[in-house]
Structures are given as C-alpha cells and as structure tokens.
C-alpha cells in the first residue's frame, strides 16, 4: 500500500479497480454476443432487446440502482433465489460489479456493434466456402476484424465502471472498505468539513486512470486497425 494514500482512500481505489475489471471481463462475452445479434440478426422483439440494453444509458442511475435492488435484493424476485444458494449481491462488492456492468453495458455494446457492422459479411461467406464452420469463421475472420471495436468497447466500459456512482450507491450503499468505490469515497469526503484535499487526491486518481485507459485503447486500436486494414 503506497503511503501517500490513507487506508480508506486506497481501499476505495483498489475496490473500484477490482469492480471495473470484473464488470468489464464478465460482461464482455455477453456484450459481444448481444452486439452480434443486434447487428446481424432480424427477429421478433429486436427493438425490445435494443431498448433494454440501452435503458441504463437514459434512465436516471438512481432508478437503475433501485430496479437492481428490487430485482437482486435479498427479497427481490431474482435475489431471493440467489440468496437460497448463498449468493448475495445487495450491499456487497459483487453487487457493485453488477451495477457497474449494467451501467456500462450499453456503451460496450454500441462500440462492438459498430465494428461488427463495418465487417464485410462477404468475407465470412468466403471463409465458409473455404471449409470453415461458423465457429471457425467467427474465430478466424470476424473476431480479428472486430477486435478494435471490442477493445474500444471494453475500455469505455471500464472507464464507465470506474466512474459509476448513482446506481452503485443505491444498490450497494457506501460502506467504507466494503462497497465504497472511488466516486462514493469522493462523495463522502466532500460531505465532511475539511475533506476537500482527500477528495482532490482521489479526483486526480480518477482522471489519471481514465486518461491512461483512453491512451492505451487508442494505441492498441490503432495497431490492430493497421493490421486489419491489410496494409
């Protein structure tokens, strides 16, 4: 633990990083799948799915958090069953992961969907005539070509998860050392007289993490785009 942070500050930073990594990692496979379905398939209820995915982007975060509480709280209609098998999300850091994942999901899906729509489906046809099964076509042609979009989507989702506040504080509260993420900690410090310097240090951390993520994603995306453009 670096000594320029107090234990409370550090645990908030560490928790936010952990929550963001898990939220991004766990939602990525589903994000790629949903993006694929929205980009390529026509089915009844597509607009409903599209609306559901995008809802957290438009709803007040506090509403999303409350809906999560209703659904995944210990007495919620999904939460009560999870509770029976020993999984509790509300007021736990795992709940923060869920909240962050839900809030970041639309951004992730949008970025990936755009990159899928840019892939020429005729390349996939060509791969299938060369003997590749749909799974191999996806792994050897589609996936490499949408990789820049996946990275962009993952970084956006990570940055969003680092900054998620409204839904998180509603769903898992703001318990130091347990569910107090970076934004929650900043909020708490700002509520205390004289807490401004501490809040400001965390603000700097926030800005640094966000910038680093953006620079990294830009760099990786460019390298891959060069590869993918075939030059």
């Amino acid at each position: 633990m670096p000594d320029w942070f107090t234990p409370d500050e550090w645990s908030a930073v560490a928790l936010s990083l952990r929550v963001s990594v898990w939220a991004t990692g766990l939602s990525l496979p589903l994000g790629i799948y949903v993006a694929f379905v929205l980009a390529r398939r026509e089915f009844w209820g597509k607009q409903v799915l599209n609306g559901l995915v995008h809802l957290p982007l438009i709803l007040p975060p506090v509403v999303t958090g409350y809906l999560l509480l209703l659904t995944f709280g210990r007495k919620g209609f999904v939460g009560q069953y999870l509770d029976m098998v020993g999984i509790v999300l509300a007021f736990k850091w795992t709940g923060a992961v869920l909240a962050a994942a839900v809030m970041a999901f639309p951004l992730m899906v949008r970025a990936i969907r755009l990159s899928i729509e840019a892939v020429d489906p005729r390349l996939e046809e060509a791969a299938s005539t060369l003997g590749a099964s749909p799974l191999w076509v996806f792994l050897t042609v589609s996936l490499p070509l949408i990789l820049p979009g996946i990275i962009a989507g993952a970084v956006l989702a990570f940055a969003k998860a680092m900054g998620e506040f409204g839904a998180t504080i509603t769903f898992v509260s703001n318990i130091p050392g347990q569910t107090q993420t970076l934004p929650s900690a900043i909020y708490s410090f700002l509520q205390v007289p004289g807490g401004d310097p501490q809040a400001f240090r965390l603000v700097l951390v926030s800005v640094f993490v966000a910038m680093a993520a953006l620079v990294l994603s830009e760099w990786v995306s460019r390298a891959i785009a060069r590869r993918v453009s075939g030059t």
Partner: protein, 363 residues
C-alpha cells in the same frame, strides 16, 4: 449436375445442366441468373427447388431436404471481388482453406505458388496488392482448399484490360493442368471463347442453349443473346509451321491460315476465334486480294435479321462458323443453304489450348 429453380420478385430462374471436366462457361447478360446459380452451388443461397449433385455427393436436394452448408461442399469459390482476408498475409490467405481441407490433399502449396507466380508477394498483406495480384491469390486460395469443383464468378470483371490479359494465361494453365471441373461465370464472349469447353447460355433465368463452345458459338439463334458485335465462332487448329517472315501457319480442318507469330510448339493446339463481322463471303475464289486467309465453305444455315442484317452459318471443313452480312448481299449473291462460297477472314484471334470436346456430355 445442377438443377435449380428459384423465384425472385419479377424473375424466375429455372436451369438444369451438367458440368463436365474442363471449363464450363455460364454465360449471359447481367440479371440472367448466373450468379444465383453459382451461389446455389456453393450453398450461399438456398433455391426454392433444386438438386445439385457433385459426383456421388448430393449437395442439395430440396425434395429430400438435403442441404449441405457451404463448408461441407468442397467448392472452391473465386469471387469477382477477391475477398481476401485483410488481416492475414498472402501466405496465410492461401493456406486458409488448405487448413480445413482433408489431409492428403493433392494440391501442394509450392506448386500453386509457382503456377500463379505468388512467391514474391507471400509475405505481403492484401491491402498492398494490385487487383491482378489479388485475383491470383484468390484463385490460389480456392485451389488450395482442394475443391471438387471450382466456381469462378466473373473473376476478371473488376479488372482493366491489361490486368485481364495478365490473368488469363494463368487461368488457361489452370484449366490445362487440373482435373477439377471449373464453372466459369462471365458475360464476356471473348473470355469464354478463350477458356471454355462447354457453354451454358442463360437468358432471363432460362437456359437458352447449351453445348460445346464450338456448337453454341456457331448457332445462328444465339447471335442476339451474345450481341451481334460479339458473336463469332471458335474453331480448333494446330500450329503447323513458323515461317521466316514472321507468320505462323495454322492448320484448320478446312485448310491452312496464316497469322502474325503465334507462340507455341509445332503441333500445339490453339483456339481460333472468328468474329461474325470479320468474315467476307465471296461466290468465287477471290483473286487480287490482300487477305491471306481464304477458306472454302458451304452454307449450312441462313437466318434473316429483323433489320438489314443476316447471319450465315457456314461449314468450313469440319467446323461451323458464323458470318454477318446484309440481307441485300444475301439476295445479290443468291445465297442459299448448300451454296458453295469462300470465306475471307479479315481478322481472327488466337489463344492457346484445345477447343476439344468436353469429356462429359451435356444433357
């Protein structure tokens, strides 16, 4: 064997034909259903009704519900737009289908690279290749998948004339060196005249005529479908002598003709294409004419056009050729079926290869 029926908005396709070894050309104007048929053979489109059999393997039979997915059909598909994978090198592109092909594949990587001259570009990426190079890679990629039939869907249509001339010899060499039947889609009469052994002529979704290139291209009834400027027959010849003055003597079934130097060994088969509009007919053997190539012929069919033109089919030796003349000339020369005439060839084009008779029969 290909049998396909498919209904589009305002357009019905109904075609049945066989693909013998060698090159079978699917020929017709755009919108005649060529590409639809090829897509159906590859499994990229499911026709309303149809049956497609490759050797002993049923690829599609809508009556019994068999419909193999593209990856199980073992077709090599060369697309008009190459469709190389941009994220892979030329080498990786070439080996893509090879990887999925059954082991013990007959085609070797080195052989394909050598035949298509791809050695210098193996390490490059598709984005840096010229159009002609891209198409060569696409052909090699399809071949290395070890297909049982090769589908070439207007592989030259996106290229300029110089690039076309660059690729055609490779396709000729491929035709002469592989046993894999090739279904070649084109709307270019000259490409087909150079490459094809058999021709399936499509118009408005139906087979207008099918047969060997010699039969189809010398049929007066297909002239309109080919376009009067493009119409012309293809006959077989052999290189008989390389004369000192730069001319080559070719032996046709009706006698010798001379052309500016044709490369090739003595005895090598060549295909001679004679455009219908490049023939002059004469009742007597012409004298005092600069034209070198004059052959005796007998009129075997006459077809009057609706305009001022007429199409004359002539038997020249064992071959049939078409000539386009005016109706006025038909009257003035008193031309009838059976009339003996002389054909004066104003110009002909020559390509290597045998016109041949396809190994299989067209039904």
């Amino acid at each position: 064997m290909v049998e396909v029926q498919h209904r589009f908005a305002g357009f019905a396709l109904e075609a049945a034909f066989e693909v013998p070894s060698g090159v079978t050309a699917l020929f017709g104007p755009s919108g005649s259903g060529k590409s639809t048929i090829v897509k159906a053979v590859a499994g990229l489109l499911r026709p309303d009704r149809g049956r497609i059999v490759n050797g002993a393997q049923v690829l599609l039979d809508t009556a019994t519900g068999i419909n193999l997915p593209p990856q199980k059909r073992r077709v090599g598909y060369v697309f008009q737009d190459a469709r190389l994978f941009p994220h892979l090198t030329v080498r990786q592109n070439l080996l893509y289908g090879h990887w999925f092909a059954p082991k013990g594949a007959e085609v070797s990587f080195d052989r394909v690279v050598e035949m298509l001259d791809l050695g210098p570009v193996l390490a490059r990426r598709p984005g840096t290749l010229s159009g002609g190079e891209r198409q060569r890679v696409a052909i090699g990629r399809a071949l290395l998948a070890n297909p049982q039939i090769l589908l070439m869907d207007e592989p030259l249509a996106a290229l300029d004339d110089a690039r076309k001339a660059e690729i055609l010899p490779y396709i000729e060499q491929l035709r002469d060196s592989t046993k894999v039947p090739i279904l070649y889609v084109s709307h270019s009469v000259s490409e087909i005249a150079r490459l094809a052994g058999a021709v399936v002529l499509l118009q408005g979704g139906r087979v207008l005529r099918k047969g060997t290139v010699g039969e189809v291209f010398s049929d007066p009834s297909v002239v309109n479908a080919m376009g009067v400027r493009e119409a012309g027959s293809v006959i077989a010849a052999r290189i008989a002598a390389q004369d000192d003055d730069g001319l080559t003597r070719l032996e046709t079934s009706a006698g010798p003709i001379w052309l500016p130097r044709v490369q090739g060994a003595l005895g090598a088969p060549v295909r001679v294409r004679i455009a219908a509009q490049d023939i002059i007919l004469s009742r007597q053997r012409p004298a005092g004419l600069s034209a070198l190539n004059i052959l005796p012929a007998t009129i075997s069919a006459l077809r009057m056009g609706e305009g001022p033109g007429a199409i004359v089919q002539l038997r020249v030796g064992e071959d049939l050729v078409l000539a386009r003349v005016t109706r006025r000339s038909v009257g003035a020369l008193d031309l009838h079926v059976g009339t003996q005439v002389f054909v004066v060839l104003k110009s002909v084009s020559v390509a290597p290869g045998d016109v041949g008779t396809p190994a299989g029969t067209l039904s």
